[in-house]
């Protein structure tokens, strides 16, 4: 693998590790390499990685805190909801009772009013009925008088209107 000239120079000790002629070369490149790696790491790589790690840790703690807060708020909202539900129930109960009382009151008033009206109407109707009856009676009297008068005249008698009238009236009373 190695060149022949190299072999004769270096294979004398058997271990290239103990070939001191290459030490300065290795040490030089090693120091250079380590310095380069150190600067790359300390200037670019490590701040970048630690920045990402810190950022992530911050985000996670922030998110956790936010989640905790949201949970708290959800519990509060639930409590408020429960509270308003009981309140609403109580209020509904109250309203129910009040409404019932009011309706009862109203109903009583209306019933009374209706009763009054009914009795008034009944009275009115009775009056009207009496009137109608009266007028019917007088009409019948008139018709009877006229008819009697006509009948008398038709039979040839001469009847005084006054006597006929009186006779009919007397008859009808009887």
């Amino acid at each position: 693998m190695a060149t022949q000239t190299q072999d004769t120079v270096t294979s004398a000790p058997g271990m290239p590790q103990l070939d001191f002629s290459t030490f300065s070369n290795q040490i030089f490149w090693l120091v250079l390499t380590l310095v380069v790696i150190y600067f790359v790491l300390s200037r670019i790589a490590l701040p970048r990685i630690s920045g990402a790690l810190v950022e992530r840790a911050d985000t996670i703690t922030h998110d956790l805190a936010e989640a905790e807060e949201l949970k708290q708020r959800a519990t509060e909202a639930e409590k408020a909801y429960e509270q308003s539900l009981t309140d609403a129930r109580a209020e509904a109960q109250q309203i129910n009772v009040a409404m019932r009382a009011e309706i009862q009151l109203q109903l009583d008033v209306e019933l009374e009013k209706a009763d009054l009206e009914i009795s008034a109407r009944t009275a009115e109707a009775g009056a009207t009925l009496a009137e109608i009856r009266d007028s019917a009676v007088s009409s019948v009297k008139d018709v009877a008088k006229l008819t009697a008068k006509e009948i008398i005249s038709a039979m040839g008698g001469k009847a005084d209107a006054k006597t006929v009238m009186a006779a009919v009236t007397a008859r009808m009373k009887g």
């Binding site: 693998m1 190695a2 060149t3 000239t5 190299q6 270096t10 294979s11 058997g14 271990m15 290239p16 590790q17 103990l18 070939d19 002629s21 290459t22 030490f23 300065s24 070369n25 290795q26 040490i27 030089f28 490149w29 090693l30 120091v31 250079l32 390499t33 380590l34 380069v36 790696i37 150190y38 790359v40 790491l41 300390s42 670019i44 790589a45 490590l46 970048r48 990685i49 630690s50 920045g51 990402a52 790690l53 950022e55 992530r56 985000t59």
Partner: protein, 260 residues
């Protein structure tokens, strides 16, 4: 090394398990100077490119819900950050970019080294020793700057019986100075050994072309062995990067809190 193959296999089998570790100039220079562009340069450059790809372009989105590539970058970041915080404490977090640099370099270099034909930069003691020495010096300096001479308390085990303390202090001092050695050789040795073993098995793999009788057994076995060791090496590549990083954190903790 090549002369180890004897007997009937001598005809075709070539054993060069260590050739993969050779530092060679890329553009035909005949000598490796300190500034020469070699395969070390190439593979370290690829390491940088891979790290940039993972941690810069991968994390580019900065999305609230991470994409897959962003998840990888964030996983690597979180893994090392947590390790630094757990092991060294809150005041060790300022060193996080340095430890991240070491970890990412070793991890990516180890994994790139597992590609066929690749050069494993972390298998070289020169590379790991520089990193281990850097950690050692940094820890020592930080220890003295933060604690003054109180840093020496790290060697004085106050919980031990008084007679034992000088002896323990001697042991502690020795172990303290051996740290960079074990720290560097652990990584380089692990990487080198696994890769060399794979190469040895790879050398046995074409035996069936030379001698069908033995080869019919040896070739499948060696291919199986390569696969198994490769899987182990994938594990080792990660574990060694992790071990290097966590030991750095442990040493750093000693520097920040020397009192046991």
């Amino acid at each position: 090394m090549a002369t180890e193959s004897t007997g009937e296999a001598e005809v075709g089998l070539v054993f060069h398990p260590m050739d993969q570790f050779q530092v060679t100039p890329l553009f035909g220079a005949d000598k490796v100077e300190w500034f020469t562009i070699t395969n070390v340069t190439l593979w370290m450059g690829l390491t940088i490119a891979t790290i940039v790809l993972i941690l810069v372009f991968g994390a580019r989105g900065r999305a609230l819900v991470p994409t897959r590539s962003q998840s990888i970058a964030e996983l690597a970041y979180g893994f090392i950050y947590k390790m630094v915080e757990d092991v060294t404490g809150k005041d060790g977090v300022v060193f996080f970019p340095y430890i991240m640099t070491l970890f990412m370099f070793i991890l990516v270099a180890n994994f790139l080294g597992l590609l066929p034909m690749a050069f494993t930069t972390t298998s070289h003691i020169a590379v790991t020793a520089v990193m281990a020495m850097a950690v050692f010096l940094a820890v020592t300096i930080i220890g003295f700057v933060k604690n003054g001479f109180g840093f020496l308390a790290v060697f004085w085990i106050s919980s031990a019986p008084l007679i034992l303390r000088p002896i323990l202090a001697l042991i502690e001092v020795i172990s303290y100075f051996v740290r960079p050695v074990s720290h560097s050789i652990r990584l380089a040795g692990n990487m080198m050994a696994g890769h060399a073993v794979i190469k040895v098995f790879a050398a046995f793999a074409p035996l069936v072309l030379i001698s069908t009788g033995i080869g019919i057994v040896v070739t499948p076995l060696s291919i199986l062995a390569i696969t198994a060791i490769y899987a182990l090496e994938v594990l080792v590549a990660f574990i060694q990067a992790y071990v290097f990083a966590i030991l750095t954190c442990v040493y750093l903790r000693d520097a920040l809190h020397p009192h046991h």
